[in-house]
Every structure is written in structure tokens, then in C-alpha cells.
Amino acid sequence: MSKKVTISPVTRLEGHGKIEIFMDDKGNVEDAYFQVLELRGFERFCIGRPAEEMPRIVPNICGVCPSPHNMASTKALDDLYSVEPTPTAKLIRQLHYNAFYVEDHYIHFFFLAAPDFVLGPDADPAVRNIVGVIQKVGMEIGGKVINIRKRCREIIKLIASKPCHPEGGLPGGVPRGITEEERKWIKETADDCVEFAQFALKLFKDIVLANKKYLDLVLSDSYGLKTYYMGLVDDKKKVNFYEGKLRVVSPSGGEFALFDPHDYISHIGEWVEPWTYIKLTHLKKVGWSGLIEGDKTSLYRVGPLARLNVAEGMATPLAQKEYEKMYDTLGGKPSHHTLAFHWARLIEALQAAEDMQRIANDPMLTSKDIRNMNLRLKRVGIGCVEAARGTLIHHYETDDRGLITKANLIVATQHNAAPICVSVKKSAQGFVKGSVVKEG
């Protein structure tokens, strides 16, 4: 008879999940499942809606990564209407997007992940949280995090209204321009973001990397997972959050595929299991492998580490240096360590901050040319961006009034759902020998 342990809800993770762990009578883990418990049906209830309303509807798919949905949708509209955004519109969109990356990566790092490695996974649930982190690292640092987040969200608010639900985004442009007055404080924020990003990396090194015991633990095999990786790269194969081609590298690091997001259907498959509401994405060209890691797997991961693994480097100079340091420490590419996701996140925040600086200094930022009105509806539009948590694809089809007739969405949590299943089982087996299960 096997015994079942349920962990519900899964906490400090966006999305509604539970974990079921099955143990034999000796208390060894036989099996573990990560189940996603809900479905909302966005792809269906947007049928009949005017396409240009989509950037305002889809952010509600995930309020933790609403900007990526808004952006993927807006880019799908560019495609749908065969239109390029004006240079200024593109700068404004990217400013919004980078500001989002900075604040989101920090909320993820400090609120969701740091409780584990700053306080340790064994800490009491009552203190294993951001408040505990702040108590440990000090009020001053806590205040800095909150301050950077607040100021980045001011930029998002300026461009896209509510940070949890951005409303801007039109085919070929943006609804609102930026003034010289506003540029001033945007610039200050961008500068402070770069400084903070470097500070955060130092903090990570001081607290996490200096902790030998913790480092050994997370670099051990049971804390890693060997899968493929997917992410956007620019034409120099550098990390890009906003546009580019999708590149896939194999578990051993070779390039497996490089494709235009328009071809996503021939590369990405969604597998259906009766025990979870989420569809499990995998590489169609490998064929569904089941929930396994290693050379035979068809599973890939996305997100910060995946993007760094698929790219040849970062797009900005300071981030590039950190990138090199990371792979030196971890012993080359690709890295499969879960810990490296956090490290990669901090490096990406630095790239986003540096890119904010570039945009804040661009003379074109404040031009009034924010809309390209040369719209030609072609009835199919596909938009792809890197959400903070990974590749995001929006695919719409419309009738000749531009009303949605079909929508297909591939979201970041999907790509990672199957790998999470594998890693939950693996870490449960690694840690639960002889019956005690830690909540977490």
C-alpha cells in the first residue's frame, strides 16, 4: 500500500498547483506529481472580441507577468495588421518591457526565491518569506528593493497604466508618447537600476555563493535537471527579451533548432494528461518522451537560465561580464543547475537595466511619432516575446472585421510544467528518504 502526501497549495509560485507524493511502506518516494489545478479558457472567450482589445484582455492571464502578455499580444497585432511600429513606439514599448524585467526579476528573486537560500529551506513557514528575508538582510536592503520596484512600476504606469494590468498597445504603435520632463526621471531610474543590479549580484555572491554548504547542495545533481532549453536570440545570438528567433539547445549544449516564431507549430507540441489542466509542451521533432530528463527527453525549459543557455552572450557589456563569470563558476554551458536560474535572473536584470539606460538616452524617445497608421489586415497575427519566466507566443486569427475567430496561446508556465514534475519527483526522492516530508 502506498501512502499519499499532499502539498496544497504549492506556494511562492505563480499559479495554482498541488503536489502529490506517493511513498511505499518503507517511506521511500515512488512517484511525485505536480498538478496544475485550473483552466480559464482565455483562448475561447476571446473569440468574437475585436483584435485590438486583446492587449487589454490577455494581461489577466497572469498578473505576475502581465506585461509580456500585453507585449506578445501587441506584437501579434503588428503582424495581424502588417505594420511596423514607429522607432519611437518601439523604444517606448521596450522601455516598458525592460522596466518590467527589472522589477519582476527582483520580486521573483527577493520575494519568491530568496526565502529558501537566504533563510534555508528548513526555516519555519512563519518566517520563510520576504519579511524573514528583510529581517535577515536588513531593512536598508529591503527598502532598496521596494524602492527600485516602485520606480520601475512608475515607468510602467506612465506608459501602460496599471502595472498589474497594462492597458496600452496598439497595432503599429503605442497610445501615449513620452515628454522631455518625463525623460529626466526615467533616466535617473535607469541609472539607479544599473547600480542596483550590480549591487544585487554582489549580494548574491556574498550571501549565496560564499556559503559553501549551500553551494555544494545546490550544485549537487539532485538540484539540477538535464533538459533542452529554448529562448529568443537576436541576430548575433545574444539574449533578447522582445524579439528575434527562437533557439533550442540540447541537454549537451548543441544547437538543436533555430526558427522564426511564425513556425512555432512545427516545433512545439502540447501533450495532454488527464491529471493536470495544463498542457505539457515538448519538442515535436523529438516526440513526446514522457516525464524524463537526460538525452532521451523531449522536454525543454525556458526562463532566465534557458535564455542564457541558448544564447552566445548578453546584449549589453556589464551583463556580458557577469555572464562569463557565471559560466566559469558553474563549469561551462549549458548549466542545468536550478540555482543558476536565480543567478541568470540577476544577470538579465542587469541587461534590462543597461538597455533602459540606452533607451532613456535615445533622442528619439520623446518624438511625437508614436503611431504607424498604415494598417493592412491580413487576418493572421503571431507575436512572440520572452516573458520573464520564458517564451510566450500569441497566435490570433480574425475575420475581415478584425474580430478574433481563433486564438492559440503558448505560455511560459506550460513549458516548465513537465520539467517541474520531473524535478519534484527527483527532489522528493533526494530528500524524502524515510518518510518526513518538508513543506515547501
Binding site: 496544497s8 504549492v10 506556494t11 511562492r12 509560485l13 505563480e14 495554482h16 512517484d31 489545478l37 485550473e38 483552466l39 480559464r40 479558457g41 475561447r44 472567450f45 473569440i47 468574437g48 475585436p50 485590438e52 482589445e53 487589454r56 484582455i57 494581461p59 489577466n60 497572469c62 498578473g63 502581465p66 520575494f111 513557514p125 520563510r128 518569506n129 519579511v131 521596494i146 520596484r149 512600476r153 506612465l158 497604466s161 496599471k162 498589474c164 494590468h165 496600452g168 496598439l170 497610445p175 501615449r176 507549430i265 512545439i268 507540441g269 501533450w271 495532454v272 494528461e273 488527464p274 491529471w275 493536470t276 498542457k279 509542451t281 503611431r371 494598417l375 472585421r401 492559440n408 503558448i410
Partner: protein, 321 residues
Amino acid sequence: MADKPKVAICWLGGCGGCDEAVVDINEVILKVVDAVELVLWPVALDFKYHHIEAMKDGEIALSIINGNVRNSEQEEVAKLLRNKSQLVLAFGACACFGGTPGMANFRTKEDIFNWVYRDAPTVVNPKKNVPQPKTQVDGKELTLPEFYEQVFALNQVIDVDYYLPGCPPPPDLVVHAITAVLEGKLPPKGSTLAPHKALCDTCLRNKTKPDKLALKNIKRIHEIEAASDTCFLNQGVICLGPATRTGCGEACININIPCRGCFGPVEGVVDSGAKFVSALASIIDAEDDEEMQRIIEKIDDPAGYFYRFTLPVSLLKKKRV
């Protein structure tokens, strides 16, 4: 610790944006965390439902619940928190009215499942699997919540004491609501903790509205280069301002985008769509029947505008099939 009021924050069918909205009160969050004992907050804290089940009825002073109810688990959690709490605050448009995902009430469960698990172009499903409430995998049973036929607002499942609308609610109103609870300065049960007026009453563009608006054509937002200081309705673009409660600080208007009604109907109005139908009809300028038909015929998807956030609490609630 012992005398601090216990507070639970929980998401049901929400997007997490309402959880972020709590964090968005920035420095104030530290004070709140100091003044209360948080007993549940899945997105940030590690407490589990069994911690709540072990509590006495009414032990929690306040449960802040965001998200709508679309499945059996969400219903159970809502009822659990109701039993353990003195006050329940429906937080955000999803909890108050069903929210954007409430538009799923225009479709059936079957339609959603067919597309998602069968017809979408990326589906690979040789076994024709569909998520099931109970599945046996290698002799082990896995369960999933039951997906309901429709979306419910929170007050259609449990009693709700207070409402805080918005998608998500803005920081000033969040602070205001939490302070009101902590200081015991609450209005009568059932109140919405937001201003009573319509968005148009506070919108700066209102003064550009002529005495009598007269529209010969309704345009869609991408079709025009909207002026940044003129009332959207005056530019022929649908704006839900006349039928929507104010309180968001004109968030969308500020970025030159019309309102879609996330604050729900103004005080005393049940169906924001009905209210907007009357407002819109009155500004359509048609000489005769034919012109009326022509102008109105060209309004694409009125239901999707008028009930963007409120379909489950509208008078007719859901599509009949």
C-alpha cells in the same frame, strides 16, 4: 504576536495581479505586516490549507480574497475561509464581478475543453486525454478539482462583507480599505470601499464633452489617432466611463486609452451593461430607422465591451445554449 489580528490573503480564480497589488502599497506593506499576523498568502508565504483548517471558526479577523470561482477547489477554499473569518473582503474585479475571465460565460465548458485539449493547432493528444476529476496512474489515484460550467463571482458562492473593485484595485484604495478594517472604521456591511460617482464625473476630459454628444459613427480604438485631451466618446470611441464607478485615478484615460469598466457599475446599479446601453443609445445621432440600424450594426461586439469585467454578475449572467 498573540493579540495581532489574523489576516489571510488568498487567490481563487485570479491572475496573481491582485496579490501584486497588495505588494504595490510599497512601504506601507511593511507596516501592515507589522500590525497583523498573516496566516495565509500562497503567493508569498508557505502556509498551507491544513493550517487554516486547524483554526477555530472566526479566528481570522479578515480574509482578503481575490479571483472568481470556476472550480470545486476554489469553492471549497472560499467556504473554508468564510467559516474561519469574521470579515471577507472581495478584492478586485474577479472576486467582485467575475472579472475578465468571467467572459468565459459566453462559452460552454465543452467548447473550451474541445479547443484546448483537442483542436488547438499545437495539441498532440493521441490518447485523446482530457483532464478528469479522478485518474489512476500506475494504480495511484490523482484528483483534480471539478471545472464548473460557468464562472461565479465570490458573493455567488459565499457571503461577502465588503467589496474593493478594480483590476486590480489601486494602492490608495487598498491602503484605505486595510486601514479601515484595522481601525474598525468600516461602513455598513455590503459596502463597496470606493467612491460612488461615475468615472466621467472625475475624468478631466469630461469638460470637452459638448452639451449633447451626437455620434454618426462608432470607431474602434486602432482606427483613429486619439487626441490626448478630448473625451473618447466625443471622438466616437467607446468608453465605459459613464457607467463605471470612479476610483482608479483614470488609469487608462491617462495613457490615452478608453475605459473598459474594471471598477464595475456605479453605486446602486446592478447591470453596468444595461446602464451603458442607455448612455450609448442616447448619443447616437440618427435621423431615421435605417440610419439607426446602420450605426448600431457597425458596433462590433458590444457585449464584450459592456461586460468585459462583469458578465457573471450581470442580470443575464451567461449565454444560454
